[in-house]
């Protein structure tokens, strides 16, 4: 049975949650099963596939490699925080739809969060830079080509230079 519990107060997508968690509870499980924010997906639980990527104080992290207790006092953004609802997509999401950048959609939340952090910093990346930035996220369906096209399009749109 739980040998240690921790009180955590964590802000996710702008909402403050207070919970008591077991020390070993993974942040990914906490988000998915305690907070019922199931948009964050788990693919490997060893930090390779990137599907569980969330923004932790603005930086992309693999939520399967962190404990929920480590999130105490921090701010997290998940895929649910990108857009108000499915009829008002974030430019990244819209570009993914326009370019057919997803198939089964399972890796997609992690890719969106990784690339959000990247495009927030890099406003006019080229294809090689996009591929480098994407290379920590595995996708088994798309062969990446349409994702790369989507990110180039999103960068343009977010930079206001084209559409």
């Amino acid at each position: 049975m739980p040998t240690d519990t921790h009180d955590v107060a964590v802000t996710v997508n702008g909402t403050l949650y207070r919970r008591q968690v077991e020390g070993r509870l993974l942040l990914s499980d906490f988000l998915r099963h305690d907070l019922l924010l199931a948009g964050t997906h788990v693919g490997c639980e060893h930090g390779v596939c990137g599907a569980c990527t969330v923004l932790f104080d603005g930086a992309p992290v693999r939520s399967c490699l962190m404990f929920a207790a480590q999130a105490d006092g921090h701010e997290i953004m998940t895929v649910e925080g990108l857009a108000a609802d499915r009829n008002h997509l974030h430019p990244l999401q819209q570009a993914m739809r326009d370019c057919h950048g997803l198939q089964c959609g399972y890796c997609t939340p992690g890719i969106l969060m990784t690339m959000k952090a990247y495009l927030d910093e890099t406003t006019a990346p080229d294809e090689a830079q996009i591929r480098e930035a994407l290379s920590g996220n595995l996708c088994r369906c798309t062969g990446y080509q349409h994702i790369v096209e989507a990110m180039l399009l999103a960068a343009k749109r977010m930079n206001g230079s084209a559409a």
């Binding site: 924010l37 499915r86 739809r97 089964c104 959609g105 088994r140 369906c141 790369v148």
Partner: protein
């Protein structure tokens, strides 16, 4: 709708849900009182079980139950044979199927021995450590040849020679053809496929509702209808008491059509026994052992050629690793045997295979499903033949292509769907020409390669041809219904794992019923929404279910026109359906919305006429008489670093013919993803087993899926040869991208390093930097 949506690059209906994190996957199902399962799995490949003591695990706080095979009682039984052997004369098939929990014997690492049900997955996994297993280890059967010739052990005690199957097929007279040949080339080839590794692993949630006498199961399956039928029978329930939902599924690629996995048998039983919802989600480590693979074959093949390079005949004898069990019958090796013939005229063929039981995870189809292995053999034989006969690699292929006037072309052997291997239609030479033009074949060989070689660069070119039997039966069905809100609902029995069914089926319906694509709602993979069906496999969803959707939409269109003609008191031919309403041509203002007609078709008063049905609804089925054969050519220019043997793919082109195209954007995605998996198979992914049957690289850090840096930009072009076997003229496209990549890599790397001139051939897949270093050792 004034423009046809069929054939247009329509954006997907399903994307908004997936992009906003609101699509339901199996692990998202949360039910009150739900228990969580963890399986104790064997850590040895082969052993007899003496005892399994679960008493300490049962006593652990938070644990509700622990079961072994003994606890399953009469429920314990080997799984069914999913695909019986095709009716091939003389075929030997020894059926040995997987069991829910190992009872007397362990046959591969990862085979489940016990299951713990606890209040959380964390607690369930804690309790696994409490279980004491006493076993008698046995030597593992790992190597295929040793398994047959000098077996260290037998995987199944009553199959003394480890032979799972033995099959001969052929046509003509190979010996006579060989006697006339100007050249005979014989080689040994080894082709190893791998693990499909969808980013979502498998999972299942079962909920037994005792008050309603209903079982609901959410499962990451590609075949929900078969799963429902089988589980109903096992659980002693009627099919109508079991509802299987395959919600959004995070990639399938074949292994998710395998059933019944042990977990699929155990979890619903536990839910019913305990009267509690139960969830099990496979972790990545489990996935490497517990989800089926598609692994290796060793081919001893020879080709008999005339002096001009014409194929006189091919003889092939191969071994196929089927793993510990063979529930999927002969599908994979039969595909290898059939697809080896490719787009070529092979007048004499003599092919024998032996499927071998080993102490490894069971082998079932994974994207390509054995076709890769056959394509590798024929393409490599042609490359070596071209070199030895001093013929251009493209020209030896062109010389042997089946001519366009030879279709339907019968290869006279039996395919996986039990029908003769007959190609319905095709026109292969324009595909080859287009690929050569796009890759710049002549210019590369004449100018670019010599120029770069003079600079000390190691660049090479390759091309590979293939055919793919797609769209096989038996059938699929669809129900199309116009709803009162004017939207159209479509239900079909297949499951979806990212193929864009929510969009391509909507495109078909939109054109028939004059509505916008976004106003067509598709339901897949819910057995309560559509009762009948087979599943999503063998590149058949768009072909078989797509045509069923089209037939049902056509029938609803007739109902709409009939009812509207009565409404307007006019002839049906005076009506047009467009923008969600029916109007009388040339009479402004005379229009009725489809939703209003749907209400009218289901009146509250009055009488529905005898012989008619309420509603604007139709259910139709489609079963093709045979598979539709797609074809294509891939070509690639690669640069190899001669020190590190790392690769840079400088150009990659795919020219593909899958008949009529429904949505070119979605089709391109299917091809891209297939090529990426092909590249993984060719150069990065390898399941490495030791002599004890232990998988040594069971993590995504060690089993390397290609990233955005390994998969190049691809250029895609299409030719269209419609299939005569279905009204829409479609051929399947799901697997094509993955099939010819192995031989393409081998050929292009050989060319880049000039290996054939140095008498080094790359006759195995996967390759890797390490393996290239080893294979070229004699050159240093």
């Amino acid at each position: 709708m004034s423009t046809r949506s069929f054939g247009a690059p329509i954006r997907r209906n399903e994307d908004a849900r997936l992009l906003s994190g609101q699509a339901l996957f199996v692990d998202d199902v949360e039910l009150p009182g739900m228990l969580h399962a963890a399986f104790l799995r064997s850590n040895v490949a082969h052993a007899r079980i003496r005892t399994i003591d679960v008493s300490a695990a049962r006593a652990r706080a938070g644990v509700v139950a622990v079961y072994t095979a003994a606890d399953l009682g009469a429920y314990w039984a080997p799984g069914p044979l999913l695909v019986p052997p095709p009716p091939i004369k003389g075929a030997v098939f020894n059926q040995r199927t997987q069991v829910p929990l190992a009872k007397d014997k362990i046959r591969h690492v990862g085979e489940p021995l016990a299951v713990v049900l606890a209040q959380s997955r964390y607690l369930a996994e804690d309790a696994l450590a409490d279980i004491a297993v006493d076993i008698e280890p046995l030597p593992a059967v790992v190597d295929l040849e040793a398994a047959l010739i000098n077996p260290s052990a037998t995987v199944h005690d009553d199959v003394r020679d480890n032979v799972a199957a033995h099959v001969w097929q052929g046509r003509g007279n190979y010996a006579a053809a060989r006697a006339k040949a100007a050249r005979v080339i014989a080689r040994r080839f080894h082709y190893d496929h791998g693990a499909s590794s969808p980013i979502e692993t498998r999972g299942i949630v079962a909920n037994w509702d005792a008050r309603a006498d209903q079982m609901t199961i959410w499962d990451t399956t590609q075949a929900p209808v078969f799963l429902r039928n089988g589980l109903a029978a096992m659980l002693g329930l009627g099919e109508r008491q079991v509802r299987v939902i395959a919600p959004f599924v995070g990639g399938g690629f074949g292994p998710k059509i395998m059933l019944f996995y042990p977990e699929e048998v155990v979890i619903p039983w536990a839910a019913k026994t305990l009267n509690r919802p139960v969830k099990w989600i496979e972790d990545r480590l489990e996935h490497f052992f517990a989800t089926t693979h598609e692994r290796g074959q060793t081919h001893d093949a020879e080709i008999a050629l005339a002096a001009d390079g014409s194929i006189l005949g091919i003889k092939d004898v191969f071994l196929h690793d089927t793993g510990a069990y063979n529930p999927y019958g002969l599908t994979v090796p039969i595909n290898s045997q059939c697809t080896l013939l490719g787009p070529y005229v092979v007048p004499n063929y003599d092919s024998t295979f032996t499927a071998v039981f080993t102490n490894k995870t069971t082998v079932t189809p994974y994207r390509g499903a054995g076709r890769q292995h056959g394509v590798f053999v024929i393409e490599r034989l042609l490359d070596i033949a071209a070199h030895e006969l001093n013929i251009d690699r493209a020209e030896i292929r062109r010389l042997n292509l089946i001519p366009p006037d030879a279709f339907p072309y019968n290869n006279e052997i039996i395919y996986q769907d039990f029908a003769p291997l007959s190609y319905d239609s095709g026109n292969y030479e324009p595909i080859l020409d287009k690929a050569l033009e796009m890759i710049g074949y002549r210019q590369f060989l004449a100018e670019e390669q010599p120029r770069l070689r003079a600079q000390g660069r190691h660049v090479g070119i390759g091309l590979a041809c293939y055919v793919e039997g797609t769209g096989i039966g038996p059938y699929e069905g669809a129900k199309v219904q116009v709803q009162a809100n004017g939207k159209v609902n479509v239900a079909t029995g297949i499951g979806t794992q990212g193929q864009g069914h929510f969009t391509v089926f909507a495109q078909i319906v939109a054109d028939q019923l004059g509505v916008d694509v976004i106003d067509v709602d598709i339901v897949t993979g819910d057995t309560d929404q559509f009762y009948w069906g087979a599943g999503t496999f063998a590149s058949r969803g768009a072909v078989v279910a797509g045509n069923a959707v089209n037939e049902a939409a056509k029938a609803v269109r007739q109902k709409i026109l009939k009812l509207a003609a009565e409404h307007f008191e006019c002839a049906e031919q005076d009506l047009e359906i467009k923008n969600g309403e029916v109007s009388v041509v040339g009479v402004p203002g005379q229009a009725v919305k489809l939703g209003a007609l749907a209400l009218k078709a289901n009146p509250m008063r009055g009488a529905v006429k005898p012989g008619s049905e309420p509603g604007l609804e139709s259910t139709q089925y489609f079963g093709p008489s045979g598979g539709a054969t797609a074809s294509g050519v891939h070509a690639m220019i690669v640069e190899v670093d001669p020190q590190t043997f790392t690769l840079e793919v400088r150009k990659y082109v795919v020219v593909h013919d899958c008949g009529t195209v429904i949505n070119p954007l979605i089709l391109a995605g299917q091809i891209h993803g297939g090529v990426a998996q092909g590249i993984g198979n060719a150069f990065y992914e390898q399941l490495v087993f030791d002599e004890a049957g232990q998988l040594l690289n069971a993590s995504l850090a060690d089993y390397l899926l290609p990233t955005a840096l390994e998969v190049p930009h691809m250029e895609i072009a299409h030719t269209v040869t419609a299939s005569p076997l279905n009204p829409l003229g479609i051929k399947g496209a799901g697997e094509a991208g993955a099939i010819p990549v192995g031989p393409l890599f081998a050929q292009a790397i050989e060319d880049a390093l000039g290996l054939l001139e140095k008498k080094v051939e790359l006759n195995e897949i996967p390759l890797s930097p390490n393996r290239l270093f080893e294979l070229t050792a004699k050159l240093r």
